[in-house]
């Protein structure tokens, strides 16, 4: 019986090191994330959680180490990386003159989503932003902006979700929705890498936890 080659993990990180001047924020991090799995990064403020996520999303260049998505090195300039990896971090800004629904519509269409309108409407409903759909992002509350940022990740195709403290500024029902949504994403075969301070979210979603405070 012929042996099939082993499937690479959805995300593979090897020897990830990031140094700022003399300060080494992350040292030699190894991480494997299978399809349908979720890994949570935890640790105190400044432990390097966001730095790891930025390196994984290729928004920052590691001092050493490699990051692979489905066996290929991630490259922020590559449309393939952008197509496969949905990233929600704190630095997401919006077009000041596009409404909530228009942002999601633009992202969905740019990603070639068939029936973009229906997908956008469903996600808008899910994140409870239907009443704000005509609003411009500058007038949204911080929690609503957070939900819009999360919605932008769910209206487009994706193989890996990278989320930096996705629970931040969400109310209790919003947090419950997030847990449910991420569990469904896992069931659909997506990989999830998240950094979080919320023990409940980590426990409900993550299959494994990397405590950056305890790394050598």
């Amino acid at each position: 019986m012929p042996r099939t080659p082993p499937t690479p993990p959805r995300l593979r990180v090897r020897g990830l090191t990031r140094r700022f001047g003399d300060v080494e924020v992350v040292t030699g991090l190894d991480l494997d994330l299978p399809a349908g799995g979720a890994v949570a990064l935890v640790g105190r403020n400044g432990a390097g959680k966001s730095t790891v996520l930025r390196c994984v999303a290729a928004a920052d260049v590691p001092t050493a180490g490699t990051v692979e998505l489905d066996g290929e090195a991630v490259d922020e300039r590559s449309p393939r990386t952008r197509r496969d990896m949905a990233v929600v971090m704190d630095d997401l800004d919006f077009f000041p003159d596009l409404s909530v629904v228009e942002h999601l519509d633009l992202f969905a269409r740019a990603h070639g989503v068939p029936d973009a309108e229906a997908v956008v409407d469903a996600v808008l409903h899910e994140v409870r932003l239907v009443p704000q759909s005509a609003q411009l992002p500058g007038t949204l509350s911080s929690g609503q902006r957070r939900r819009l940022a999360l919605a932008s990740a769910f209206v487009r195709p994706r193989r890996l979700l990278v989320l930096d403290e996705p629970e931040a500024r969400l109310d209790r029902p919003g947090l419950a929705w997030l847990v449910d949504r991420l569990q469904r994403e896992k069931a659909d075969g997506l990989g999830i890498l998240l950094a979080s301070h919320d023990a409940g979210l980590v426990e409900a979603v993550a299959d494994s936890v990397v405590d950056l405070d305890r790394l050598p």
């Binding site: 449309p79 000041p96 633009l106 609003q135």
Partner: protein, 506 residues
């Protein structure tokens, strides 16, 4: 709303409470003592800085005097009808333009405002609001007068006014801007919202004056009133004092919701200006305008991939046609250059006008340039995203340049065969300059710093100020040196290289 004992909660005293005034004076004195205690400049440093300032002022003044003398010599040779008409109309148009600009700035900032810190710490305290705001009113009025007077004096000196009327004219325009500040502050206290209409009316008058001058439709007015500028100065000064008195009387009526927005805007603007990042200034103003609008009627997109971005640009132009209107209004400039006999310099002036008036069209490219996280959300290369965002605004600017072609032809004495490619080159140069302007990066303080009297300055700070203008000069140089199809081809080639670098860089 009243307290339980019937006392009003909001303090709107007609007469300031002397005790409250004393209290505020004490507070100010205390703040001054704290600041002095933390001063980090020694007397010898201050003297050194003063020496540099005096030396620089003397040097710049001598250069300015030299320029004025030269320009006045050239102006004396201006004898054509269009040229003398232009000189005659200049003081009126400049004055109206400065008053409109003052009113616009006053409406944008308040004009009465308080810093966020004062808004958080002093406005909620029971201090006399008139005493708190009086220095701000005086400072705003002084700045408005000084800036307007200096600009007016410069214009008068450069356009060959007789020496005796230069100062009177400058004072007159300064007083008119003082009047504008007084009226704006008084209107703010009384929550009158018609000031915007007055501003736009004045702006439209200036534009109509330029059009009339271009078309030679009406004879230009005399360059000064029959009585001379001095009596006008007296009348405008009296009106300005009256308006400022009205504004002063209204200071206690100003509520926090009227004072805070201008103060919230100011740190962003001053931060951007400190970094000479004019694109960031534009960002702050655009964001404020859209926040004020709050909601829009959503329009669903069309197409997929890059086509969706292009379609969104079309929808954006339809949603806010003001940048297109501004560009259309600016079409008067190339034709005015022809009337004033600018010659081939009209090519540079037209490209510069297209650049400055076209910036508003490229807002999505600007947002994507300053926000890499948005580009990360799109499954296209950065070059494809930028090209899609540039397509519609660039087409609008190119059409504008083609509409300017008859003006360019008349101004530079071009043959019809040369005029069309030159107009296209002017348009592409304007687009290149805008793309350079909006895709620029902020000053990088990690780069080597240069010691200056202002402190350590990153080298990229100086580049920030010239951003856009460098591309404009590069693309315009071949047009000025060889205003022909060959010059247009060289200009297009240079613009193409610059655009390719700007759109493709990581």
């Amino acid at each position: 709303m009243t307290l339980a004992d019937g006392a009003p909660v909001a303090d709107l005293p007609d007469r300031p409470d002397p005790a409250a005034s004393r209290h505020l004076r004490d507070l100010r004195r205390q703040v001054r003592v704290w600041r002095r205690g933390r001063a980090d400049t020694r007397l010898v440093d201050a003297i050194s800085d003063a020496y540099i300032a005096v030396f620089s002022t003397a040097m710049l003044t001598s250069m300015a005097v030299s320029v004025v003398v030269n320009v006045r010599t050239v102006a004396a040779t201006c004898t054509s009808l269009a040229c003398t008409d232009g000189r005659a109309a200049l003081p009126w148009l400049t004055g109206l333009g400065l008053v409109a600009g003052t009113l616009g700035a006053a409406g944008l900032l308040g004009p009465m405002l308080v810093s966020p810190a004062v808004g958080s710490w002093l406005l909620p305290a029971p201090v006399d609001r008139r005493a708190l705001l009086r220095p701000r009113l005086a400072g705003t009025a002084a700045v408005a007068f000084a800036v307007a007077a200096v600009v007016a004096v410069a214009v008068a000196a450069l356009s060959g006014f007789p020496g005796s009327s230069v100062l009177a004219y400058g004072g007159c325009v300064g007083a008119a801007c003082l009047l504008a500040v007084g009226v704006a502050a008084a209107a703010q206290a009384r929550r009158l919202r018609r000031l915007g209409l007055v501003t736009w009316t004045l702006t439209a008058l200036v534009w109509a004056g330029l059009v009339a001058l271009t078309a030679d439709a009406v004879p230009a007015p005399a360059s000064a009133p029959p009585t001379g500028w001095a009596p006008v100065l007296g009348i405008v000064a009296v009106l300005a004092v009256g308006a400022l008195a009205l504004a002063y009387a209204g200071l206690p009526r100003l509520a926090r919701d009227q004072l805070a927005p201008g103060g919230a805007l100011l740190p962003g603007l001053s931060g951007a200006l400190a970094g000479l990042d004019f694109a960031l200034v534009q960002d702050v103003l655009v964001a404020r305008r859209w926040r004020a609008r709050s909601t829009v009627r959503p329009v669903r997109g069309r197409g997929v991939g890059g086509a969706a971005l292009v379609w969104r640009e079309l929808a954006r132009v339809r949603r806010d046609p003001r940048p297109v209107v501004l560009l259309a209004a600016a079409l008067v400039v190339p034709y005015l250059g022809g009337s004033l006999g600018l010659g081939r310099a009209d090519l540079l002036v037209t490209a510069g006008t297209g650049f400055l008036a076209g910036i508003g069209l490229f807002s999505s490219l600007r947002v994507l340039s300053r926000t890499p996280s948005l580009v990360r959300c799109l499954p296209l290369t950065a070059a494809a995203v930028r090209s899609a965002c540039v397509s519609v605004p660039a087409a609008v600017v190119l059409v504008w340049a083609l509409c300017a072609e008859p003006g360019l032809q008349a101004a530079a004495g071009l043959t019809p065969a040369d005029a069309a490619p030159l107009a296209v080159a002017v348009g592409v140069t304007a687009v290149t300059a805008v793309v350079r302007f909006v895709t620029g990066r902020p000053p990088d303080y990690r780069l080597p710093l240069v010691t200056s009297p202002m402190g350590a300055v990153p080298t990229s700070l100086y580049v920030s100020a010239a951003r856009g203008f460098d591309a404009l000069l590069l693309g315009s140089a071949p047009l000025l040196l060889a205003p022909s199809a060959t010059g247009a081809a060289i200009s297009l080639a240079l613009d193409g290289i610059v655009l390719a670098v700007l759109l493709n860089r990581a």
